[in-house]
Symmetry: C2
Subunit: 393 residues, 2 copies
């Protein structure tokens, strides 16, 4: 059940960008101008909507978001920027707000021009049909290879006042840290200054979207946008409110991040990789990603094979100095490696049982220091290959 | 047809380490003590045979190699080292040479103790049956997930004298640069000083095994050994001889490297990725590997989809500064991207035809400088996942 956020309406439409007439256009509108913050892909190849949003969000203000699936509007040059602006312009006209108050998002195939006339034709009707319960429809409209819409919401309170955070996301493959996820739009009725809102978003992304990896690839379009309309009467400038908001925002984004990994293309398992005992947080993170992105580890997970030798090999090539004779490895609480050596058949049999679950942990204890890191990933299945081999056909 | 190298005999046996009674033990013997050089994995987790060989090869001399498949003797601690020594000792006794003149190699499952008594039982008979035409059998004995034995040989001449280089290799998955391949043993009748032989090997590996990648993973066991017995009467200290030998050695190792990529687990295509117009060789290499190791690129290759957007995304996240508006991308000689923009449907249709071949090139021209790099890889198929999910079962 996705909570409604006071002052926000949303909805979706089929503009004909996707095959089969599925929903492919979503719109979110704040009835009053909202404070806005964003986090974007770090890929040097950035899609037109990313380039446009990064410019517009500098004002710290936004009132509407329009997003399409079926076409990424990436590698489309100057024409792509004009097209992104045209989408925003159409929405602004329909919603009767300034063009600069509209942000856009796109996801789908790279390198093809957006069908602007189809979007322009669909926007006015879509703008007319927005409703307080329409956010779920936006989650559906931005799906590409996703197998389910991703939503999360939670309330918090400070004194006798309540605030709400509700968010939608899309993302299945091409998910990796330092770029949030493919698309995520968050609505809240907290009040905020842009700088405080931006910092809160950055912190929440660091603990959520930046701790997941599906295939190690990164997208041209990744965008996280947060709109805060202030209608709750609470404001981030109040310390108690800031604390409460951060906790709720972290929780909402972390919930979405796990949904994204669980829906990793073809994934059958959600696996949390924890690296402990590192000399630094950076080392722990580097080892965790080396394990999480190893094809050999990921295929062994799919095969439900407690093949810890592949984990060892990934740790050994991570580039982080290790002491092999100290390393312990666990699947949940089953230790399979102690001081760098296997714990034997019995331990492996117990670990194999752990691997049959659809969510479990792999723990690597380096015993070199006190720092740790956690990364969430999924297995690599034959379906991943099938989905990605056939994506455009 | 694998050429015989004067003074070398070889052979294989079934020691019972592999399921189904397949050959799993290979031996190479130089009738006279040979000059020796090696290149080993850069993974910090190094198997016992690697640790032993690295120590022994410092002498620059070796007379025999024993290698087994079915078990990597990795993550086996001190016991593993003792076991590797025991294998060498058994071979030395059977061949009546000093223990220190034997090098060993292992490939297979990590973390299980080698069945030493089985190997000790098989070695004497194997040593008795070595023959000048036995090198091909060694190629078979070291196979794991390989679908065909990998061999290459060539002769060269200086004046009226001829020398021969013959080599065997194994490797299907877990192949990536900076660690040569899984196992490769090279025999030659050139004469050499260890330092010159080591440099020649290093140079040949740089242009062959260090330019290929199958899944970006790296092994605990990768070993390349080169034995040079001097029986040709030619010596590397002669400049003409050094030049001729380097050319032949480069060719033999490059041939093996391409065989390894072509046999990448589940691979259906051999793809050469060339990055041109980079500011430095390091930049070109980095971009080439980002493309070569992208799961999205590799699955698109399997799907025969000229999805250049994924190549662009990989280039963009490589960490190398680019200018998007300058980039051209080709499949063989079909340009699909010009100045960062797609060349349209017709070009893509032509590129799709290129993708149907079992060997083709993808060229990325960054137009920032004059440096280039070439990397050889394969596609990622559903069979890759199947092979690696089921490897131990």
């Amino acid at each position: 059940m996705l909570l409604q956020v006071p002052g926000f309406v949303a909805g979706s439409a089929s503009a004909g960008l996707k095959k089969g007439g599925n929903k492919d256009l979503g719109m979110i509108f704040s009835e009053v101008p909202a404070c806005a913050a964003g986090v974007f892909t770090t890929n040097q190849v950035q899609a037109a909507p990313v380039l446009l949003d990064k410019k517009r969000i500098k004002s710290g203000r936004c009132q509407a978001i329009v997003a399409n699936s079926g076409n990424a509007n990436a590698c489309t040059g100057k024409q792509g920027i004009e097209d992104a602006k045209a989408v925003a312009r159409a929405a602004a006209a329909a919603l009767k707000i300034p063009e600069e108050m509209v942000l856009v998002g796109s996801t789908g195939v790279i390198g093809q021009r957006l069908n602007i006339s189809a979007i322009e034709a669909a926007v006015p009707k879509l703008a007319d049909q927005l409703s307080p319960s329409g956010l779920y429809d936006v989650a559906q409209a931005i799906m590409t290879t996703d197998s389910f819409p991703k939503t999360a919401s939670r309330q918090g309170s400070v004194g006798d006042k309540t605030f709400t955070v509700a968010a939608v996301a899309k993302g299945a493959g091409m998910i990796r840290p330092d770029l949030a996820t493919m698309l995520c739009f968050i609505c809240t009725d907290i009040g905020a200054r842009p700088d405080l809102l931006g910092q809160a978003l950055k912190d929440a992304v660091a603990g959520s979207f930046n701790t997941i990896t599906v295939d190690g690839d990164t997208s041209t379009n990744d965008t996280v946008l947060l709109l805060a309309n202030g209608l709750s009467g609470l404001n981030l400038q109040d310390a108690a409110c800031a604390t409460a908001f951060q906790e709720v925002l972290n929780d909402v984004l972390f919930t979405l991040a796990l949904q994204i990994v669980r829906d990793g293309e073809g994934a059958t398992k959600l696996v949390t990789i924890e690296v402990r005992g590192a000399s630094s947080k950076a080392d722990a993170t580097r080892v965790a990603y080396a394990v999480a992105n190893s094809l050999l580890v990921k295929t062994a997970l799919f095969g439900e094979d407690a093949n810890w030798g592949r984990i060892m090999a990934a740790v050994g090539r991570s580039g982080v100095p290790i002491n092999l004779d100290r390393i312990d490895i666990y699947f949940d609480d089953v230790r399979v490696v102690k001081h760098g050596l296997g714990c034997g058949k019995e331990a492996e049999a117990a670990a194999t049982k752990v691997l049959k679950a659809d969510h479990f942990s792999m723990v690597v204890d380096l015993k070199l220091g006190s720092k740790s890191a956690m990364v969430h990933t999924c297995d690599l299945s034959t379906d991943y290959v099938r989905i990605n081999a056939d994506y455009r056909s």
